[in-house]
Subunit: 196 residues, 2 copies
């Protein structure tokens, strides 16, 4: 729905931009989508998008309603010692899912990705272009190992935070970390600090 040249109506600009972005990211991939194309499709100027969102990555995160910036979180974790990475990753993931500030948004985002092919395609495009290759390169492991780690984190979120299978759903963060971090370390091919 390109509406180039239309003057944005009051209040609708940001939603128009995000709807156009979601559709373009899903259709053309993350790298294939420019701020210029999003602006044209939403009927605003690239400068306006830049003003409101700051960067393509921020437009993307808002478009898929992602309440955290995974690249910022990961770069913090990747600065730590490798033997602590799996545990720190699981601990951070569980904490942002539990948080009142970010948990509801993350649940909504995952529900959309499971239910809606456009959202799934957008998530896939961003993960494949940025988050996964960057993490694989930093860890020096094949990308499918990072994807397997992501699978374990997502599975944990589905059974605990979405389906609510007990006693797993009510376990303390420490117990969840103790249970899942060794599995994440194994799929990443990393040595955990305390091998079982």
């Amino acid at each position: 729905m390109a509406r180039a040249g239309r003057r944005p109506g009051p209040g609708s600009t940001s939603d128009d931009v995000l709807a156009a972005a979601r559709s373009l990211f899903a259709e053309r991939g993350y790298r294939g989508t420019t701020l210029r194309a999003i602006a044209a499709a939403a009927g605003v100027t690239p400068a306006m998008i830049h003003h409101f969102f700051g960067s393509k990555q921020r437009v993307f995160l808002a478009a898929i309603r992602m309440p955290i910036d995974p690249t910022a979180v990961l770069s913090g974790l990747l600065d730590g010692p490798r033997e602590d990475f799996a545990e720190a990753l699981v601990r951070t993931f569980v904490a942002v899912w539990r948080s009142d500030a970010t948990g509801p948004g993350l649940r909504g985002m995952l529900r959309s990705a499971v239910a809606d092919e456009e959202q799934a395609a957008a998530v896939r495009a961003f993960a494949g272009a940025i988050v996964l290759p960057r993490t694989a390169a930093a860890l020096g492991v094949p990308i499918e190992r990072v994807e397997a780690a992501l699978s374990i984190l997502i599975g944990q979120a589905v059974t605990r935070a979405i389906i609510g299978i007990e006693p797993l759903a009510s376990m303390s963060d420490d117990d969840v970390v103790a249970l899942f971090a060794p599995a994440v370390a194994v799929v990443l091919g990393l040595r955990a600090r305390d091998p079982a």
Copy 2:
């Protein structure tokens, strides 16, 4: 919507029974739901349900649109050697998700469980009453370890079969098994045949 005493209309009986069953399983749990209560809510006789479905478990599987009987599949796997269990579990799970006969039904079931609280509650009730405790008892491990294994399998299904993250989604079954089986063995506390 109890409609006890109503004569079932042609063609609608089975759907009425399944809708009533889904609602009761979600509300009262698996053990708390009787064929008699489902029959009363659907306006049919218990004998009719028995005739059409055979058992409460079969009514349940049909109600959540589960295309396989997980207890039958698991009891086959649990008969094998323990050191092969994790690998056999992942291989079987991946095969039924890939199959044209059962894959679409499994995807639909998981999508519903993520999107719809009634479906989630019914799945949770059945898993918690039957599948998980039975598997935990057979393996001699705490139930949360079996739930963690289920989490890994579900996460693998979400990233591969639902979101479609590549290259993971296109990997051969053998490669998927090689990647995930050691993680499943670790969360189950089982020794794999070839420890990494």
